[in-house]
Amino acid sequence: MKEHSTHSGAKTASSVLTILLMNLWCYALLALWTLLGVCLFPFAFGLCLLVFRWSGDRIARLFIWIYGRGWLVLMSPFVRFRRQQMSVIKPDQPYLFVVNHLSFFDTYCMSLLPVHDITFAVRSWPFKMFWYSGFMRLARYLDVEGSSWEETLSNSKSAFAAGGAVLFFPEGHRSRDGELQRFYSGGFKVAISAGVQLIPLCIDGSDQLLPPDRKLLHPCRITLRALEPIDASLYADEGGHTRLRKLVKDRMTCALTEMRGEKL
């Protein structure tokens, strides 16, 4: 009994030390990485404009993806990232991604995707974070709350026409209990109207990284899985978006259950 409690005490002390070390490491390096990114961005951006001859927004999205990748590398001593079924995503194809939402860090985890030209469709509040908003506007991210439906659709179609992807969080908010919440229809209607393939993405474990109402990061495993693409153009009939939304939600529920090792 005494041996058991000593062992358990040592384990607790070890995990507290790991958490402290993780937070010192991650917060310090992430701040440095962000500072480095902000300082180097104008030069790298200009250089890419000259070399690649891409549009400015595409270059901005590339740098945001690289920045996200940097986060993942810096976190990797404490967070195990896994990607599953990414082979369903082909480069330079106009996809619409929908992903469940567990954590603030989910957006950074999207750099696990094998494509970098991703236009995020988000609510208005991220545009109010002054340290990000300039980059978001440069990347032509979609403010679905502050724009009209016609603007969201038109800007999404422009992204697809350039061979890029658009990513929606159909729940609109982070889930507090990990369960899928109600899905908004916007992303599904965009996919149908644009006639593109829709790829559901399931993320699991990011809620353990920074649990709600905590300030300290915790070691965890984060898995991002891509599900089979769905041809949204087949749902263009009346009420099609509702059927598509339900189908996607069912598939995501099944996949998340499987990923968490729960019984269906």
Binding site: R123, V144, E145, S148, W149, G172, R182, F183, Y184, S185, G186, E238, G239, T242
Partner: protein
């Protein structure tokens, strides 16, 4: 269509679109505080009603005053009454 059929069509269309539980959808239910809808849902609400009743209402000022499910019932019924 009778008044009751109109109300049933409104409620079923809204329940379907917003994944709502019909048992919570009383006429007094506030769309925002009771049913959990928000600003993103307003556009979809208009599209749902236009699709269900085949009229155009997106430019109507009266929509802005809608707060409860009962407000929607009254709005749609009066709109149907105004149709030739």
């Amino acid at each position: 269509m009778t008044e009751q059929e109109v109300i049933e069509l409104i409620d079923s269309s809204i329940a379907e679109e917003f994944e709502l539980d019909r048992s919570e959808m009383g006429a007094d239910a506030n769309l925002y505080t009771d049913l959990g809808l928000d600003s993103l849902d307003t556009v979809d609400m208009v599209i749902v009603l236009e699709g269900a009743f085949n009229f155009k209402i997106r430019e109507e000022e009266a929509i802005r005053a809608i707060r409860t499910l009962g407000d929607i019932h009254r709005f749609v019924l009066s709109k149907i009454d105004q149709q030739p």
